[in-house]
């Protein structure tokens, strides 16, 4: 259960046996052709995989460097890569005879994916969500309810994702005998980081084959955004042993030199959160600090333990991108390619665009476009309105 020194299983004793059972069940499942067939059947016939790889031709031309390709996880059912894992874990729950599902969610993407598979499998579903996020993401709350899930507002702590995760774990501790906890990223106690990785590696496996078919070679760089880090791990898994540069991009929020960011690798220190040893944003006494990012999906104070390991070995390079930089990249992709990326994914785009400029035209970058930006339109609207207001103020001030 370790990635170098990272990972592990730091949980209340009550969960130790349930986690061992899940580990065993997953191991057996992954060797059972019938399980794998059902998993891939659902990915293909239900979620619409394989997702395509799109050349961002206009952006490539504009930047004048490396060719930019996008792995289109935004085209999945429910709009992001989250469904790959939710399908896999729901199948695992079914295999283990569990008919009740719990999940945590921040902006609601993993919650919607979990509510979706719970509906598909006829399972009862409870989604824990910080009260503050419930307020901010009413549409996703309603989507989950429409799918038949119960959304439980969490009032502890800062009432956001970290607290929702705490509460989901508490509920699971009390109900682990008949509930399966579908964790949404490569975080949590072992075996979750491994399970989620294995259910997300389809992204990279597909992308590698597709890219080779198009270009006849491997990409020069592969990039993805990281919050917990599931889309990045899923993308990188296929390339870890290849001669390909891997770059993951964290959320720098208002800047890594402020205290308003979510750049866990860049600025974090080692610690234990939600069951595993990894890098965290915390104070000197080990109290977890509240992260910040405009992107709800990257707004998490920890990171998957495998990322902590990949950072420490140097196999993957970790960079960070501010809110503002991500928004500029999002707008560029929208205007040039007609693709509205999730703000999460826009962090990877921003960094990739900078890399591309420095690279030669025979080189290439393959970016994981982890989700679509429809969910972010409210955020973008208020941001661009604020910006316009700000510009008006500046203009008013300078023309007087």
């Amino acid at each position: 259960g370790r990635y170098g020194e990272f990972g592990g299983r730091f949980v209340p004793e009550t969960l130790m046996s349930p986690l061992a059972e899940i580990e065993q069940a997953h191991k057996e499942a992954m060797q059972d052709p019938a399980f794998l067939e059902e998993y891939h059947h659902l990915l293909n016939e239900y979620s619409g995989r394989p997702t395509t790889v799109t050349l961002a031709g206009n952006v490539t031309e504009k930047l004048g460097g490396a060719k930019i390709y996008l792995k289109r996880e935004d085209l999945n059912h429910t709009g992001a890569h989250k469904i790959n894992n939710a399908i896999g874990q729901a199948l695992l729950a079914k295999r283990m005879g569990k008919t009740k599902i719990i999940a945590e969610t921040g902006a609601g993407q993993h919650g919607v994916a979990t509510a979706t598979v719970a509906a598909k499998f006829g399972m009862e579903c409870k989604v824990f969500m910080g009260e503050e996020d419930v307020r901010r993401q009413q549409l996703n709350v309603f989507r989950m309810q429409l799918l038949g899930a119960e959304v439980i507002p969490v009032t502890s702590g800062n009432k956001t994702l970290k607290d929702a995760t705490n509460e989901a774990m508490r509920y699971w501790v009390q109900h682990c005998e008949d509930h399966f906890y579908i964790i949404g990223s490569v975080v949590g106690p072992h075996p979750y980081p491994y399970i989620v990785r294995e259910f997300q590696r389809v992204i990279g496996d597909e992308a590698k084959e597709q890219f080779q078919k198009i270009e006849g070679t491997l990409p020069t760089k592969v990039m993805a955004c990281v919050g917990g880090g599931s889309n990045a791990i899923g993308m990188f898994a296929a390339f870890l042993k290849e001669k390909v540069d891997l770059v993951a991009v964290e959320a720098a929020g208002m800047g890594v030199d402020t205290d308003m960011h979510a750049a866990t690798i860049t600025k974090g220190t080692k610690g234990v959160l939600h069951g595993s040893l990894t890098y965290l944003l915390q104070d000197e006494f080990g109290q977890i600090t509240e992260p910040y990012s405009i992107s709800a999906g990257l707004d998490y104070p920890g990171i998957g333990p495998e990322h902590a390991h990949l950072a420490s070995t140097g196999r993957v390079k970790y960079e960070s991108v501010t809110d503002q930089e991500a928004l500029v990249a999002l707008e560029l992709l929208a205007k040039e390619e007609g693709i509205l990326a999730a703000i999460e994914s826009a962090h990877a785009l921003s960094s990739a665009f900078e890399h591309a400029k420095q690279m030669a035209s025979h080189e290439s970058i393959l970016i994981c476009l982890s989700g679509r930006g429809d969910k972010d339109v409210h955020t973008l609207m208020s941001h661009f309105k604020e910006e316009a207001k700000h510009e008006d103020t500046i203009q008013a001030a300078t023309t007087k």
Partner: protein, 271 residues
């Protein structure tokens, strides 16, 4: 191996839990004194934590209150010598999540435990398999490393109970800390299995909230941990506890409340 309690036990153990710094450090000291007076066999001193996943809402709120007051793991440990000065001589067990411990150099953490006369260490989110090094260090420093065992532990019960020090902390039912009305009937067979392997007292916690429950459990274990019920009382008394003119009266009220859980025999000897 160090033992926290003199064996064989003369009375059932009453181990109260309070959060350090709730509602402030001075109150914590006085509350500890009151608990000893109410018959506590030992005190679990909880370190407030931002992400207490093993705790129910009552202790979560206590944690938040204490953190707002600036409490931290080092300050919390330094409360213990103050308690000793006021006559607390029962064992003090530091209850802390793993992460705050991890942020201290291991040597300085154990030095702090020793110099602050702390007797035991309980980390709810470190399972047996991850605790080898810490248990080793505890033995070196004569600190009892308390292990938890749960109804779901099944095949793990033997391993945990055989290696237990101080006491075995049995989780009463599935779950996190908090007040419960009823206990699962299966608790008897669970406790029997723990007792079969344990060389130290077998104590039940998580959800003990009334004298009746204490009595019900007394026949099948060596004692109880009472947490949320007491912390809820502290929450109720917080304003009085923070005000110097009303503190003593609040402490009196708290002591009376705590006595409903305590053993009738108030004089004990501690090792």
């Amino acid at each position: 191996m160090k033992t926290l309690f003199k064996q064989p036990l003369q009375n059932k153990l009453f181990i109260p839990f309070i959060t350090a710094g709730d509602p402030d450090g001075n109150a914590t000291i006085d509350l500890a004194v009151a608990l000893q007076e109410a018959g506590a066999s030992a005190i679990e001193l909880g370190i407030p934590y931002s992400d207490p996943v093993a705790d129910g809402p009552v202790i979560q709120k206590a944690s938040s209150r204490a953190l707002k007051n600036g409490m931290n793991i080092v300050k919390a440990m330094k409360l213990v010598p103050e308690m000793r000065k006021k006559g607390v001589n029962i064992p003090i067990i530091l209850f802390t999540y793993y992460n705050p411990v991890l942020q201290l150099e291991q040597e300085s953490f154990f030095a702090l435990l020793r110099e602050n006369t702390i007797d035991g260490l309980l980390i709810p989110d470190i399972p047996f398999e991850e605790s080898a090094e810490l248990r080793q260090k505890c033995q070196e420093h004569s600190i009892s490393f308390i292990s938890l065992v749960a109804p779901t532990s099944s095949s793990r019960i033997k391993m945990i109970a055989e290696n237990a020090e101080g006491f075995v902390y049995c989780v009463s039912s599935l779950g996190v800390t908090g007040v419960r009305k009823n206990f699962d009937n299966s608790i008897t067979s669970f406790l029997d299995e723990v007792k079969q392997y344990s060389n130290v007292p077998v104590v039940v916690g998580f959800g003990v909230s009334s004298k009746e429950q204490v009595e019900e459990l007394s026949s099948i274990c060596d004692g109880v941990v009472v947490g949320s019920a007491l912390v809820r009382e502290i929450e109720r008394l917080q304003t009085s506890l923070l005000n110097e003119t009303t503190r003593n009266k609040a402490i009196d009220e708290f002591r009376e409340f705590a006595k409903t859980f305590g053993s009738e025999n108030e004089s004990k000897e501690y090792v």
